[in-house]
């Protein structure tokens, strides 16, 4: 019962937070560049506006164009429901496996790529090919980060990893630092942020994510925007849950602990948004075919992290 309540509160919290995370990062970036910037709630307003608009589909669009946004939004929301935020012991905690979360994200990605190919436009195909290719390098890096966690925590369950890291027995490790960098690089690529992709661009040649949703409009576009906001929130929440596990309320009924946990979670997310905004403001976008080097570096860091762990367990 408590588990179900925690789960519901978690879902409500992250759903409300997701557009604000996107809006917050945009606002912070604008401030850093000396602009006033749109209100952080602007993505919420956009979503509500888009939902009221009638979508326009291309003449030859099939049911893929109509169904894919729902699949992507549902898969991303399901993945986000599994990443702990303010408390442990949520109803879906037994399901919260890192490999499964990667699988759900892949489901959303495939839906997006298929939607991009559905109408047969040049940009849709270009974006789909690039998205799937970048993911091919991002996924092994994510799995190697998961391998580092599995060696330390004995499980790929996110709940188990977070609990192990929270009780402090793991300590500070170089491997975790490397895994963090790898995970951040993967997150940047998965969320189509600078330097891999520019979320604000409408210059077609540099687009990856935007190129696939060019044909979407109305509620379909709203769902794509929501899915990408949920994905950004998921990655930040994932990094917060694994690397900043302090202050999370233990399992069980603890309203005060939940409140503290929720406030701390908001603070952690704000810090991560600030870091993302600062990183994006400080760096330029890469050429598309430099991205493999960026992700390859993440992959190598994951390998290095795992090997360092083997060395250290041998020395200990």
């Amino acid at each position: 019962m408590t588990a179900a309540l925690t789960q519901l509160l978690h879902i409500a919290l992250v759903l409300c937070a997701a557009p604000v995370v996107v809006g917050g990062v945009r606002w912070l970036k604008a401030r850093m560049m000396g602009r006033v910037g749109a209100h952080p709630l602007q993505p919420w307003r956009d979503l509500l506006k888009l939902l009221r608009k009638r979508p326009v589909l291309a003449d030859n669009a099939s049911w893929i164009s109509r169904g894919a946004p729902y699949v992507a939004a549902a898969a991303t929301a399901a993945a986000l429901a599994l990443v702990p935020s303010f408390a442990r012991g949520m109803g879906f905690a037994p399901l919260s496996d890192l490999v499964l979360i990667a699988g759900l994200l892949a489901l959303g990605r495939v839906a997006l790529a298929l939607a991009g190919l559905d109408v047969g436009t040049a940009f849709g195909g270009l974006g789909a090919a690039r998205e799937m290719s970048f993911a091919a390098l991002a996924e092994p890096a994510l799995l190697l980060a998961a391998l580092c966690f599995a060696i330390l925590a004995g499980t790929t369950s996110l709940e188990g990893i977070a609990v192990t890291f929270q009780d402090g027995s793991v300590g500070l490790r170089v491997s975790l630092m490397l895994a963090l960098i790898a995970l951040c690089a993967v997150g940047v690529a998965e969320n189509a942020r600078i330097p891999v992709d520019n979320p604000a661009t409408h210059l077609e040649l540099t687009m990856v994510h935007e190129a696939m949703v060019l044909e979407a409009s109305g509620r379909h576009l709203a769902l794509w925007e929501a899915a990408s906001a949920l994905k950004l929130t998921l990655w930040l929440a994932l990094i917060a849950a694994v690397f900043l596990p302090f202050g999370t309320a233990p399992a069980g009924f603890a309203p005060l602990g939940w409140l503290i946990g929720a406030v701390l979670w908001v603070a952690k997310m704000a810090v991560l948004c600030l870091a993302l905004a600062a990183f994006e403001s400080a760096i330029a976008k890469m050429r598309v075919f430099r991205v493999p080097e960026f992700l390859g570096a993440a992959l190598l860091l994951g390998v290095l992290g795992a090997i360092l762990l083997f060395v250290s367990t041998r020395l200990a």
């Binding site: 490999v99 298929l114 109408v119 091919a136 799995l143 390998v303």
Partner: protein
């Protein structure tokens, strides 16, 4: 039960000559009736195999029975244990689907192809139920030979003849490795029965020799790197229902032989390195196959490359099971064995689905070239929906069956660092990364395939007119699609069902950890709840739909929230001229175009992929062209040197023609002496 099995086998063997009945006097109608009888019989036999497999898995194995046929080394014996039963189930399910498809389309096939099909099925079944080495080889070679006839069926085209010749060479290579492997396993006593071999498992250099021979033989037949060259050539030229069986099931037969000879007959006392070759070759095949699938531009070739990938994943699982067993981690050994077996079954089903879907496409649009298809989802909605399920499974998306097998395999890999020394651990890290890379590459290849064939605009007028096949062909697609969904939701019960198969391989099962709704890795490690995931996804989907619906306004009475339709925005590109009914073909991505990022990222290094732009000089009116292609390194590094060796050997052998009779007689005599010396040495050495 054994009676049913024998009846099915005998029935298949009877069907071969039936198909070859002279039919010219009575006209084409008798030919169709004969073909229908043969394929109907094959369907019944496949169902019998699946039934026997299921019954043995539930009720327990059948002890060895000697057939009244004696070979030169003793009677032929048959037995069905858990491992055989698991693969019989796989053979039965895939065989039934492809026989259904054959019933829909293959009425007018030439007799030689109709006749070889039941022999192909019977050979595979005999391989599985063999209880001695000779019967196993007999079945294996019958399977190879029958499938060669099927590949060579349309031999009027030069490329088919080339594919069939290459296929035959690799089949002979496999036999040339497996025959001595079984001989070495049997040892000097020469008793080929599996029970006798289990009594005296190979050790030391004999074990190493068995390992090398079996891995080489199996790699040639299953398509593991570097002996994979024949797969992308031979699988596409056979009829679709045969390619489905060759890709989905025949490669699994080779893996069955590996599991039987290395893990079961090799005995539990093998050291850690015994599993390493399979793990290494498996990882290489997984990445190589998946990457090549991203470059191919013909539908069935692409699927054959994806088979190389999945065979590699199963081989990783089998190798890991052997390693875990050597390291006394029996719970993890059962996990790895269960992962390999489950993925073999899942792949057999979804690859059958994809090949049959490709057959539908070939029937509907008269081509399998990705660059001549497009937009088939409108004319072939049933095929598109079924193939989409297969694509999801091949891209290992939850909650479909491909994800379940891959999740288990990745969990086994993530736990494998507990084994061995630093070198092995580093190897495991590399293999884990490569397995994840292969999964992601497979997703990219599947998206590209589905996008090119079913989405977008038609690239030729012929593909604009494609329609779904007859009801029987639809059933042949719906059955494996439903099985793919079902197997994805029920990995727990399937692992529990396959407990006996796992016990044969590693003397330990997933029992207790594989429940109806959840699979546990064990020791408090991760768990996978497929039904829970499916329900969560469904709940999220319904919630999203309801939330969107509540906000959506109402536009008129007839279509309350129907989207408006208009020309594609396409980045503001100008509308095509009226004579281009399906839009400007040049603005749609091509197969080579969709492959471009991966060709540049990985293809240039691994596959020697190249691109060249042929740009006309100013003033010329011809169009610019992009030439892109790749060369498989095993062609340059393996086949070409082998061909040179062959030519040199032939040139030398030609000289033997001019020997005097005295020297010519010396040759057989010297051979005889050498063989006798070898026998004497082997007898003394063992």
């Amino acid at each position: 039960m054994l009676t049913a099995l024998l009846l099915a086998l005998a029935g298949l063997l009877v069907l071969c000559p039936v198909a070859l009945l002279p039919r010219t006097p009575l006209g084409a109608r008798l030919g169709v009736a004969v073909a229908m009888t043969v394929h109907g019989g094959a369907l019944l036999a496949a169902l019998a195999f699946a039934g026997v497999g299921l019954a043995v898995l539930v009720l327990g194995g059948l002890p060895p029975v000697a057939l009244p046929l004696a070979g030169p080394m003793g009677p032929l014996t048959l037995a069905v244990d858990g491992l055989s039963a698991w693969f019989l189930l796989l053979l039965g399910l895939a065989g039934a689907c492809s026989a259904l498809f054959a019933l829909a389309y293959e009425g007018t096939a030439p007799p030689r192809q109709v006749a070889a099909y039941p022999l192909f099925l019977a050979g595979m079944a005999l391989t599985l139920v063999a209880a001695d080495g000779l019967t196993l080889l007999l079945g294996f070679e019958a399977m190879s030979l029958a499938s060669w006839v099927l590949v060579a069926g349309q031999h009027d085209q030069a490329e088919n003849r080339r594919a069939a010749r290459l296929y035959l060479i690799f089949a002979v290579l496999a036999a040339a490795c497996l025959v001595p492997a079984i001989g070495v396993l049997a040892g000097p006593a020469g008793d080929l029965s599996f029970a006798a071999i289990r009594e005296t498992p190979p050790q030391g250099w004999r074990a190493a020799m068995v390992l090398a021979l079996v891995v080489a033989g199996v790699a040639a037949k299953a398509g593991l790197v570097p002996l994979h060259m024949w797969l992308p050539l031979a699988h596409p030229v056979a009829p679709s229902h045969v390619s489905a069986l060759m890709s989905g099931v025949m490669t699994k037969m080779a893996l069955y032989v590996a599991a039987r000879l290395l893990l079961d007959l090799g005995g539990p006392a093998q050291p850690l390195w015994f599993g390493v070759p399979l793990v290494v070759l498996g990882a290489a095949s997984a990445v190589f196959g998946a990457l090549r699938a991203n470059m191919e531009e013909e539908g069935k070739t692409l699927l054959a490359c994806s088979t190389i990938e999945n065979v590699g994943l199963v081989a990783i699982g089998l190798g890991l099971a052997s390693c875990f067993r050597a390291g006394d981690l029996s719970a993890l050994a059962a996990l790895a064995a269960g992962a390999a077996l489950l993925h073999a079954l899942n792949h057999a089903v979804f690859k059958t689905l994809l090949f049959l879907g490709m057959g539908e496409v070939a029937h509907g649009a008269a081509t399998r070239q990705l660059d001549r298809l497009g937009g088939l989802i409108h004319g072939m909605p049933w095929t598109a929906a079924c193939v989409l399920v297969g694509v999801g499974a091949a891209a290992s998306l939850p909650p479909l069956s491909g994800f379940a097998g891959e999740w288990l395999l990745l969990q086994a890999l993530l736990a494998a660092w507990r084994l061995g020394d630093m070198a092995f651990q580093v190897l495991i890290v590399a293999v884990a990364g490569l397995a994840a890379l292969a999964a992601a590459l497979a997703a990219a290849a599947m998206v590209r395939m589905f996008g090119m064939i079913f989405l977008g605009r038609p690239r030729t007028p012929r593909s604009a007119g494609a329609v779904d096949g007859p009801i029987l062909a639809r059933a042949a697609l719906l059955l494996p699609a439903a099985l793919t969904v079902l197997l994805g939701l029920l990995p727990g019960p399937m692992l529990a069902l396959g407990a006996e198969a796992q016990r044969v391989l590693v003397q330990e099962t997933m029992e207790g950890r594989a429940r109806a709704h959840v699979v546990f890795v064990g020791d408090g490690a991760a768990a996978y709840w497929p039904v829970g995931v499916a329900l969560l996804l469904a709940a999220c989907g319904i919630a999203v739909w309801a939330a969107v619906k509540r906000r959506a306004p109402v536009f008129g009475r007839e279509a309350p929230d129907e989207p408006a339709r208009g020309p594609a925005w396409d980045g503001g590109f100008a509308a095509p001229p009226p004579h281009l009914v399906c839009g400007d073909p040049l603005t749609q991505p091509s197969a080579a175009g969709l492959a471009q990022p991966l060709r540049r990222i990985l293809g240039q290094g691994v596959l020697a992929a190249h691109e060249a732009v042929d740009m006309p000089s100013p003033g010329e009116t011809r169009a610019a062209r992009l030439e892109a292609g790749f060369r498989d390194p095993s062609e340059a590094w393996l086949l070409a040197p082998l061909a040179r060796v062959r030519d040199a050997a032939v040139a030398r052998a030609e000289k033997l023609r001019h020997l005097t009779i005295r020297r010519a007689l010396m040759l057989p005599f010297a051979t005889l002496v050498a063989l006798l010396l070898l026998v004497a040495w082997l007898e003394g050495g063992m």
